[in-house]
C-alpha cells in the first residue's frame, strides 16, 4: 500500500501533546466519569425491567465488552480471539470450584490470575505484530483452546458437554448469600462487575491509560516520545485478558457449569459486534451495545432461528455507515448541535 500522507500533522501534534502531557490533564476529572455512574444506576434497577437471567448476562458480557474494548477502542489493537480469555476464565474458575472446592471469591481470583498468564503467553508471541496479523494470530490461539477443551483434555473439561457437577454455589463471606436464586445472583454479579468497571475506568484515566490512547492515535510518534510501546500494549493485553477472565468466571457462576461455547469463535465475534454496536471510541458504549444486542437477539430468536442473518446484516451496515456505533454517533450529533448553538 502507499504511504499515508500526513496532511493533518499540526492538528495531530497538538492532539498528541494533549494525550502524552500527563500533568496538564491530571486532576481535571473526578473519581469516575458521570456516564459510568449513570450506567451503574441503570444496571441497579435493570432486573426489574427485563428478565433477571437476561439482566445478569448483560452485566457479565458488559464487563467482557469493556475489557475487550480497552484493547480495541483505547489501545487500537484488535484481538479477534477474546473468547480465549473469557473461556479460560470460565474453565479456570469452574475447575477451581469443582476439583479444589474453593469459595466463589477465590475462584474469581484464580480465573483472573490464570487468564492473565494465558494473555501473557499469547502477548509474548504476538503483540509485536501489526493490526490484522495480531487479529489472525489471536483468533487461531482461541481456536486452539477451544479444541483443547473439546478433545485432548476432555477428561478434565468434560468435552462438548461442558464442565458439570460444580457444587451448589453460595457465598459465606462476608455473609450468607444463596447464588442459586436469580436476584441475589444478580446483585452479587452487579457488585463484582461494578468494581471491575470502576477499576477499568481508573486504569484508562491513569497516565498509563493516556499512553494507551496515544498508541491508538499514533504508535510511531508515541515511541518517538520515549514510551515503551510494546510493553504498554503487552500490559494492556494482560489487563484486558484478566478482566475478560473475571467475566468468564462470573459466567460459570451464573450458569452453574462451565460451557464450551465460551471458547467458541462466535463468542469472540459477538463481543466484537456488541462493542462496535455500542461505539468503540467511548468508555461506556460497549455496555450499551451489549444491552441492545442481547435484547435484540432475545427478541428475534423468538421468531426465527436464523437470527445470525439479521445480526450479520446489521453488523455490515454498522461497519459501512456508522463505524462510531450508537453512543459514538449520538455523542457526535450532540456535540455538533452544541457547537452550532
Amino acid at each position: 500500500m502507499e504511504k499515508k500522507v500526513d496532511y493533518s500533522l499540526r492538528v495531530e501534534m497538538t492532539k498528541m501533546e494533549k494525550l502524552t502531557d500527563i500533568k496538564r490533564e491530571k486532576g481535571k476529572v473526578g473519581f469516575v466519569d458521570k456516564s459510568v455512574w449513570i450506567t451503574l444506576l441503570i444496571l441497579l434497577v435493570l432486573p426489574f425491567l427485563i428478565s433477571k437471567p437476561l439482566a445478569t448476562e448483560i452485566l457479565i458480557y458488559g464487563l467482557f465488552a469493556l475489557a475487550f474494548n480497552q484493547l480495541l477502542g483505547h489501545t487500537g489493537v484488535l484481538s479477534f480471539g477474546h473468547a480465549a480469555y473469557f473461556g479460560v476464565g470460565a474453565y479456570a474458575g469452574g475447575m477451581a470450584l469443582r476439583y479444589f472446592h474453593v469459595s466463589v471469591w477465590t475462584s474469581l481470583v484464580v480465573a483472573m490470575v490464570v487468564t492473565a498468564l494465558v494473555a501473557a503467553c499469547i502477548g509474548v508471541l504476538a503483540i509485536k505484530k501489526k493490526g490484522v496479523y495480531f487479529a489472525m494470530i489471536s483468533l487461531a490461539f482461541a481456536q486452539m483452546f477451544y479444541f483443547m477443551a473439546l478433545s485432548p483434555f476432555r477428561k478434565w473439561t468434560g468435552g462438548e458437554d461442558g464442565l458439570k457437577f460444580i457444587p451448589i454455589l453460595k457465598l459465606e463471606f462476608p455473609f450468607h448469600v444463596d447464588l442459586t436464586s436469580a436476584l441475589p445472583l444478580y446483585y452479587f454479579t452487579y457488585f463484582v462487575v461494578g468494581l471491575a468497571i470502576i477499576a477499568l475506568w481508573r486504569i484508562l484515566d491513569s497516565p498509563f491509560g493516556r499512553v494507551l490512547k496515544a498508541i491508538r492515535e499514533n504508535e510511531v510518534r508515541t515511541q518517538a516520545s520515549g514510551f515503551n510501546v510494546t510493553r504498554a500494549k503487552f500490559l494492556s493485553l494482560v489487563i484486558s485478558g484478566s478482566f475478560s477472565g473475571l467475566a468468564g468466571a462470573l459466567f460459570t457462576v451464573y450458569l452453574g457449569y462451565g460451557s464450551l461455547m465460551t471458547l467458541f469463535w462466535m463468542t469472540s465475534g459477538s463481543i466484537l459486534m456488541m462493542t462496535l454496536l455500542g461505539g468503540m471510541h467511548t468508555f461506556i458504549g460497549p455496555v450499551v451495545g451489549v444491552g441492545v444486542f442481547m435484547y435484540l437477539q432475545n427478541t428475534i430468536s423468538v421468531y426465527t432461528d436464523r437470527w445470525q442473518l439479521f445480526v450479520g446484516a446489521l453488523f455490515v451496515a454498522l461497519v459501512l455507515f456508522f463505524p462510531d456505533g450508537l453512543v459514538g454517533t449520538i455523542k457526535m450529533k450532540y456535540r455538533e448541535r452544541k457547537s452550532r448553538a
Binding site: 500500500m1 502507499e2 484488535l78 479477534f80 508471541l125 504476538a126 509485536k128 505484530k129 501489526k130 493490526g131 490484522v132 496479523y133 487479529a135 489472525m136 494470530i137 483468533l139 487461531a140 490461539f141 481456536q143 486452539m144 479444541f147 483443547m148 473439546l150 478433545s151 485432548p152 476432555r154 469463535w265 465475534g269 466484537l272 459486534m273 462496535l276 436464523r306 445470525q308 442473518l309 445480526v311 450479520g312 446484516a313 453488523f315 455490515v316 454498522l318 461497519v319 459501512l320 463505524p323
Partner: protein, 293 residues
C-alpha cells in the same frame, strides 16, 4: 505401540498431500487478496463453503462433475466480485481493520442464507465416475480422487504463475500489488484491477471448496473453521507470499494427517502448536518479508 509399516506412512503422506493441496488453494487466494488489496478476507472460508454448495447444486442439476466444477468456480467468483464492488470498495480509505470486520459480518450472514435454502443436513457430492477407486502402486493404495486433487492443484498453480508472470494483466496485478499509487499514475484503472484480483482469490477458494466437496459432507457452518486454519497457514508461510502459502499449506496437510494417525484427539490442536513454534523461531513466517508485518 503398534507396528508402523512404510505403506501406511506412504498412504498417510498422500492423504496429507491432497489435504494440503486444498489448503494451498485456499491460502493462495487469501494471499493474493491480501497482497493486492491489503484486506484480510475473513469470509474466505465462507466462499469455500459456497463453492462446495455451488458444485452440489450444479451436479444435481446437470449431472456432470466437470461442468459443475467450472460453473461453481465462476459463479462464486462473480458473487465475490459483487461483494467487493458493493461492500468493500467504500472501505479502502479507512483503517485496514474495517474490511476485516466487514468480511466477518458477511461470513455470519451467508451461512444463514444457505441454511434457509438447503437446511442443516450435510450435502454430499458423488465422486466423478472416472475417479472412483484407487491405483495400486506395489502394496500402496493411491485413491484416484486424491491424486486428481494433487495434479489439479499443480496445474492451477502453474497456470497462475504463468498468468501472473507472463500475461499483461498479470503484470499489472503484480505492479499494483507492489505500488498501487504508482500504477494508478501510469493510467491503470486500479479499482478494476482490485476487483479482478479479489475475484481470482475467491475463485481459488471456491475451487478448493468444490474439489473438497466429494470428500466431506458440506455443511453451512464449515466455512469459519476453514478460515481459521487458512489463517494458520498464512501465518506459518508469511502473509502475502504465494510461496509461503504453498509451503505452509503442504506442511499443515502433513501435520494434520500424521497427528491424526498417532494421536487422533490432538489432530485439531497440533496445527496451532506448529504455528506457535514458528512464531517463536521465525516470527515473520517462513517466507514473510522482513518489516512488513
Amino acid at each position: 505401540m503398534f507396528d508402523l509399516s512404510w505403506e501406511i506412512v506412504a498412504m498417510q503422506m498422500i492423504f496429507g498431500l491432497a489435504l494440503g493441496c486444498v489448503y494451498v488453494l485456499m491460502a493462495g487466494g487469501l494471499s493474493i487478496i491480501f497482497g493486492l488489496l491489503d484486506v484480510v478476507n475473513f469470509a474466505h472460508g465462507t466462499f469455500y463453503m459456497l463453492g462446495a454448495y455451488a458444485i452440489f447444486v450444479a451436479v444435481s442439476l446437470c449431472g456432470n462433475f466437470w461442468l459443475g466444477l467450472v460453473s461453481a468456480v465462476v459463479i462464486v467468483a462473480l458473487v465475490g466480485g459483487v461483494i467487493e464492488w458493493l461492500l468493500l470498495k467504500p472501505l479502502y480509505k479507512r483503517d485496514p481493520l474495517y474490511p476485516l470486520l466487514l468480511t466477518f459480518g458477511v461470513s455470519i450472514c451467508i451461512p444463514d442464507i444457505i441454511k434457509i435454502c438447503f437446511g442443516l443436513i450435510g450435502k454430499v457430492v458423488p465422486y466423478p465416475s472416472g475417479l472412483m477407486g484407487a491405483y495400486m502402486w506395489g502394496p500402496v493404495m493411491i485413491p484416484k480422487y486424491r491424486l486428481f486433487i494433487i495434479v489439479l492443484t499443480l496445474v492451477v498453480l502453474i497456470s497462475l504463475w504463468l498468468f501472473l508472470n507472463k500475461s499483461n494483466l498479470g503484470m499489472i496485478i503484480r505492479a499494483s500489488t507492489r505500488d498501487s499509487l504508482m500504477t494508478q499514475v501510469l493510467g491503470i484503472n486500479v479499482s478494476r484491477i482490485w476487483t479482478i484480483g479479489f475475484m481470482i482469490g475467491i475463485g481459488l477458494a471456491a475451487l478448493a471448496g468444490a474439489v473438497a466437496a466429494p470428500m466431506v459432507a458440506s455443511i453451512p457452518d464449515m466455512g469459519v473453521e476453514m478460515t481459521i486454519e487458512c489463517f494458520v497457514v498464512v501465518v506459518i508461510g508469511g502473509l502475502g507470499s504465494l510461496g509461503g502459502a504453498i509451503i505452509g499449506g503442504l506442511l499443515i496437510g502433513q501435520v494434520i494427517s500424521f497427528v491424526a494417525l498417532f494421536a487422533p484427539s490432538w489432530s485439531n490442536v497440533a496445527i496451532f502448536m506448529v504455528m506457535a513454534i514458528i512464531l517463536i523461531i521465525r516470527p515473520r513466517g517462513l517466507f514473510g518479508e522482513e518489516g512488513r508485518l
